[in-house]
């Protein structure tokens, strides 16, 4: 139990260290909506496949649209912030509006095999690498 707790903390620290060490990478370089667009995206590798994690707090599942074609994935939608009628505002930090962002994967992916999960305002896209793109082991005769 304790070992698994250490592992999860380690998982967090790995992400935080990656964030600190982030340098220009090939990712998003060819996209029109590169770094600095909403929503911010983290991409992880899991074996041969990829997982894209996107924070979209306050975006209803029905207001979110995901499309995939070839090696690109498009995430678009709207975020609505409600205010009660007749309420006086003391603090307003939450932003609302439209968003539209495209991720260009640097590898060939299987667009039909993408799975999306949306829980607690976090979207996780499980992106499988195309079968043709997976490395092959070459046997020596």
């Amino acid at each position: 139990m304790l070992a698994s707790f250490d592992d999860t903390v380690e998982a967090l620290l790995t992400i935080q260290r990656a964030m600190d060490a982030r340098k220009q990478s090939d990712w998003m370089a060819r996209g029109t909506t590169g770094f600095g667009s909403y929503p911010p995206i983290n991409i992880f590798q899991q074996g041969h496949d990829f997982v894209a994690v996107v924070e979209l707090p306050g975006v209803a599942k029905g207001d979110l649209e995901i499309e995939a074609k070839d090696d690109t994935i498009r995430i678009s939608g709207k975020k609505i912030v409600h205010y009660d009628e007749g309420a006086s505002t003391h603090r307003r930090e939450r932003l609302s509006g439209l968003f539209d962002r495209t991720i260009v994967m640097p590898v060939h992916i299987d667009p039909d095999g993408i799975k999306a999960e949306y829980h607690n305002g976090v979207l996780a896209l499980f992106v499988p690498r195309a079968e043709s793109d997976k490395p092959r082991t070459i046997k020596i005769k």
């Binding site: 990478s25 707090p57 309420a87 609302s96």
Partner: protein, 130 residues
């Protein structure tokens, strides 16, 4: 509504003391508004489920703590990162005119709504002029 949504950088919590685990905590983006009946606090805490949020009221301070589940990131190797992750912590001073026993909280799509009803004596009274 046609406005394009800009990216909001996460603000890190400024700690008064160091924690034993060098993990980070962030300040959730918050809206606060007030009606005659209640003070409403809305906090954005993506990744926080209703089981992992704590709301405590002590000495006229309301403290909201949301924990994310790191276990989901186990075995994942970051290849491209744009945002940091961590728990969420934020405290607000509230007046003693809040009925502290009647505070209600709900969470949906990573957004928590905290309704702090005003105590009966704090509600405005309409005075009619004869």
């Amino acid at each position: 509504m046609s406005q394009e949504l800009p990216v909001q950088q996460k603000r890190e919590v400024e700690k008064k003391q160091e924690s034993t685990i060098p993990s980070r905590a962030f300040l959730p983006a918050t809206d606060i508004f007030e009606t005659d009946l209640a003070l409403t606090v809305v906090l954005e805490m993506p990744g926080v489920s209703k089981e992992s949020v704590d709301v405590s009221v002590e000495n006229d301070m309301v403290r909201i703590e949301g924990r994310i589940d790191f276990a989901k990131y186990e075995g994942l190797q970051p290849v491209y990162t744009e945002y940091n992750i961590g728990h969420y912590v934020r405290s607000f001073q509230i007046s003693n005119q809040i009925d502290q026993g009647a505070i209600k909280a709900e969470i949906e799509d990573g957004v928590m709504k905290l309704v702090l009803p005003k105590a009966a004596k704090a509600k405005p009274r309409r005075i009619t002029v004869n």
